[in-house]
């Protein structure tokens, strides 16, 4: 490894397996539900010395025009159950899951993450999301009761309660001393929490795992979401994969940390990214175009347009121009999808303008607005681009979303990772045992309180060198405001 190295690149992977990010029509595409697919991807990520493997959450199948949406991959397992199995066939890879704070209770969620952290030897992470939609709520006892404005107050209080539960056992409360006959310390696990959303008390069953608390992830991008990330999260998933917007987001979120007594390195920003690797840049570009066509078939293109227009467009030619009819206002056609929730008429206007400017057909337009691959090129091109992105503070790393299950990480791990290792910006091997070690986070997190500075609960900065070199944090050009992104993924 070179004597002078740049900022470390943090790599994570997600098994997509749902929505139109995976090309199911490719002959190499295998089951998105078989445990073998999960094991294959997780082991590949571990072979590439990734920080963690991430599974989103599904709580309701998406519907289109009142029926189950049938064009994309759908159907997935319960994520914490899969990660508990993966903990048995991996040794170092972090294991992250989205769990919704709206349709769960703190006692159970805290218990399940403490269990995963114990089973995995300290590799658990929780992506905290909330949801307010009644559509998903129909699968649960209390339904979609949560007003939108309460999403973050519930999430914050949920997290506060979970932290009390994890802290209800001190490190030496589990005695198991056969000589003295003392199994636990008196009062171990005792807790009480009273607040607007939760009023709970009693004894918690589970002494925390090696990490104390799982790593907390947040994925909101609104102003409130960014503030929540700054006060409470340790990793932020962002959707900014264009460098200028990404740098602005990066600066803005890192800038907010100081108000909570936190340092820039206490929070990592990891955009999700699609990667297409081939022998040459030209071949990669051609493959990327092929992937895009595979993801957006003719029927998919029409369905996407219908979701924005709010009306039946099945009579239109996907290879023809955009419809000249106006969108229906705010009629939900595609339920359980977070993207088209706001500003449908404005979106339609923008799409129409774009199609006219570039002379795009319906299908071409949907491909264009559906988001391109972040990194496309030869292994060297991709490695350089990723490195540059991190060195210039567009991100601390990426969550890679492969286009194929289960082989979609192979090219990256076999061909790009060695170049990143040569550059000295990606680990040759794991140097710590826990996910906190991989992320360079302190051994136990601070007990943040919503809206105010927190204080450190235990210990100091216990990272094992996963972040090298001083941070070059210094931006202060926050952009704030709302960008219309929803902060969640609630449906399969």
């Amino acid at each position: 490894m070179p004597a002078t190295v740049g900022r470390r690149v943090h790599l994570a992977a997600q098994l997509p397996g749902i929505h139109n990010v995976t090309v199911w029509s490719d002959p190499r595409s295998e089951s998105q539900i078989s445990i073998d697919s999960f094991i294959r991807l997780a082991r590949t990520a571990e072979r590439g010395k990734f920080d963690f493997f991430f599974l989103a959450e599904g709580l309701r199948l998406r519907e289109h025009k009142g029926r189950v949406y049938d064009l994309d991959i759908a159907g997935r397992p319960e994520n914490l159950t899969v990660l508990s199995a993966l903990a048995a066939v991996t040794t170092r890879l972090g294991l992250a899951a989205t769990v919704n704070a709206t349709f769960n209770e703190p006692y159970e969620v805290a218990r399940r993450f403490a269990t995963l952290d114990r089973l995995s030897g300290g590799r658990a992470a929780w992506n905290v999301v909330t949801s307010h939609d009644a559509f998903t709520g129909e699968n649960f006892r209390r339904g979609g009761f949560l007003p939108e404005a309460d999403r973050y107050t519930r999430a914050a209080e949920f997290l506060t309660a979970a932290r009390k539960l994890w802290d209800s056992w001190s490190e030496d409360d589990l005695k198991a001393d056969a000589g003295t006959g003392e199994f636990i310390a008196p009062g171990a696990g005792r807790f009480t929490h009273q607040g607007r959303h939760f009023d709970i008390s009693g004894r918690f069953t589970t002494p925390p795992g090696p990490q104390g608390h799982p790593v907390i992830i947040q994925s909101g991008e609104s102003d409130t979401g960014r503030e929540f990330a700054a006060s409470d999260a340790e990793v932020v998933f962002s959707r900014h994969n264009r460098i200028d917007a990404a740098r602005e987001f990066y600066r803005d979120v890192k800038r907010r940390l100081a108000a909570y007594g936190r340092r820039p390195d206490d929070l990592l920003i990891l955009p999700t990214a699609g990667v297409v690797v081939a022998d040459t840049d030209e071949e990669a570009a051609a493959y990327a175009a092929e992937i895009s066509r595979g993801l957006v078939g003719p029927q998919t293109a029409i369905a996407h347009l219908e979701a924005v227009w709010g009306r039946d467009l099945s009579g239109y030619d996907p290879d023809g121009p955009l419809p000249d009819v106006e969108p229906e206002d705010e009629v939900p056609l595609l339920e359980g999808h977070s993207v088209f929730r706001k500003g449908r008429a404005e979106t339609a206007r923008q799409w129409r303008r774009l199609a006219e400017e570039r002379n795009l057909s319906i299908r071409e337009l949907v491909i264009e607005v559906g988001g391109r691959q972040t990194f496309v090129g030869s292994p060297r091109t991709v490695a350089d681009a990723i490195d540059d992105y991190v060195q210039t503070e567009g991100a601390d790393g990426f969550v890679l979303v492969p286009h194929l299950v289960p082989g979609g990480l192979d090219d990256f791990v076999d061909r790009v990772v060695p170049i990143l290792q040569e550059k000295g910006v990606h680990r040759d091997d794991y140097t710590g045992g826990t996910l906190r070690d991989h992320l360079g986070l302190s051994a136990a997190p601070r007990p943040a309180r919503w809206g105010g500075p927190g204080r450190r609960l235990r210990g100091g900065h216990g990272g094992h060198g996963a972040i090298a070199g001083p941070s070059r944090y210094g931006g202060n050009s926050g952009i704030g405001g709302h960008d219309g992104h929803d902060d969640k993924e609630t449906s399969a």
């Binding site: 048995a88 403490a114 006892r141 589990l174 008390s201 004894r203 069953t205």
Partner: protein, 419 residues
């Protein structure tokens, strides 16, 4: 079969020329079912909440060709009292989530059934259904589920959402008086199991079509909402998880009284009961059969396997197990008490007892090792060979799924169309 003496044994996986095969399950809990077991030589009390300990135990059970292991669990600390928490520090306290533990063990085993306990009073039915379905996917068809109601008011305070009956000392004098105030929770529990079963069937087996010509990944005519409406909850459905390898993972319940017998008749594929002798077993099986009749269950289409629970202390040397029991009792400061019969003796003596009780109509036994790993190893290396010699227990696994071990066919989904 219903478990009544008159019913014909299922010989689906019986060895050639033998009578009905005996089914054996092992109930794993902490350091074993004796409260002083954690202080025994050979115990691993500091590891009870860690993966390696359970990996070793389940590997041992699988070497013994056991049908399935169960994992105890509750949404509150263990207590010596049935109905209220205690503040004891001298017994095993603390637990990890049993469904996640079972999932962790799935890739480390290949044949044995994995049956976690999961709560039906506080946990969302949708979460339960997809958790068990996922365990079935992760184990390639070896998942089961032991639904359990939460009968402690103190555990309800961990959730702060609902009040459950606060049982008194008078209530816990006998099983019938315990069950009476809990009738509503049992009824709700049966609804939760039914909702889960409908969710498990909400995807037909061939719903995934990957039809490139029409661009369709799914045939949405083969995915069905459940629209389940219970007395306290509703679930719209469909599940997010495709139908699992077993279709319907077996539901296992423990029952001591009329209400839980009815719960089993409605909801379970295996019911574990707690007789204290052969005559008691026959009497309980008759009660179970009555409950089956009352609920209108067709046991030809939906068999109900009957197991008897026994706490076991096993040593090869005659008299040694009884001495060990006395020693453990002394360390605990009280004689071992249990809802189930306690057996202390040699593997051969236990084999005699099992075959005797079985003649009352039982399909199998769920053995609760008093001390781990000692009594588990005695089951797998002492009792199992003894039963094999007598031709009543498998000499290798002949199936890869838990339903298969139990002689239960994989059911077609309720929406499946033939042809």
């Amino acid at each position: 079969m219903t478990g009544t003496p008159a019913s014909a044994p299922d010989t689906a996986d019986a060895p050639d020329g033998a009578a009905a095969p005996l089914h054996l399950a092992v109930a794993l809990d902490g350091a074993g079912w004796h409260p002083a077991a954690w202080r025994e030589q050979g115990a691993r009390p500091g590891e009870l909440l860690d993966a390696a300990y359970w990996t070793d135990l389940v590997a041992e059970a699988e070497r013994g060709l056991i049908d399935f292991v169960t994992f105890e669990d509750a949404l509150g600390l263990q207590s010596a009292a049935f109905h209220v928490p205690d503040n004891r520090t001298d017994q095993v306290r603390g637990s990890i989530d049993a469904v996640l533990l079972a999932a962790h063990l799935a890739p480390l085993t290949t044949r044995i059934g994995l049956v976690p306990t999961a709560n039906v009073t506080h946990t969302e039915p949708f979460h339960l259904a997809i958790g068990i379905a996922t365990l079935d996917h992760a184990s390639r068809g070896r998942a089961g589920w032991r639904p359990q109601i939460s009968s402690r008011a103190a555990d309800a305070a961990h959730f702060g959402r609902r009040a459950v009956p606060r049982l008194t000392e008078d209530d816990v004098t006998d099983p019938e008086s315990v069950a009476r105030p809990l009738r509503a929770l049992f009824a709700e529990g049966a609804e939760v199991v039914e909702a889960a079963r409908q969710l498990w069937d909400s995807w037909e087996d061939d719903a995934e079509i990957r039809d490139a010509a029409t661009g369709r990944f799914l045939d949405r005519d083969k995915i069905h909402p459940v629209d389940f409406r219970g007395s306290t909850f509703s679930v719209k459905g469909p599940s997010i998880t495709p139908r699992s390898p077993q279709g319907q993972p077996p539901v296992v319940s423990l029952a001591h009284a009329t209400t839980p017998y009815e719960f089993a008749a409605l909801s379970s594929d295996v019911v574990a009961v707690t007789p204290h002798d052969r005559a008691g077993a026959a009497a309980i099986l008759a009660q179970v059969a009555e409950a089956v009749k009352r609920t209108g269950r067709n046991v030809t289409e939906r068999p109900l396997r009957t197991f008897a629970d026994l706490v076991v202390l096993l040593d090869d040397e005659p008299g040694a197990a009884a001495l060990r029991r006395a020693r453990l009792d002394e360390v605990a400061g009280a004689a071992l008490a249990s809802d189930a019969e306690i057996f202390a003796g040699t593997p051969a003596e236990l084999a005699d007892l099992l075959l005797d009780w079985r003649s009352a109509g039982l399909d199998g036994f769920r053995l609760r090792p008093a001390a781990l790993p000692h009594d588990l190893t005695a089951i797998t290396r002492g009792l199992v060979p003894e039963l094999q010699r007598r031709g009543v227990f498998r000499t290798e696994y002949t199936s890869t799924t838990l339903r298969g071990h139990l002689g239960l066919a994989r059911p077609a989904g309720r929406h499946a169309t033939t042809g």
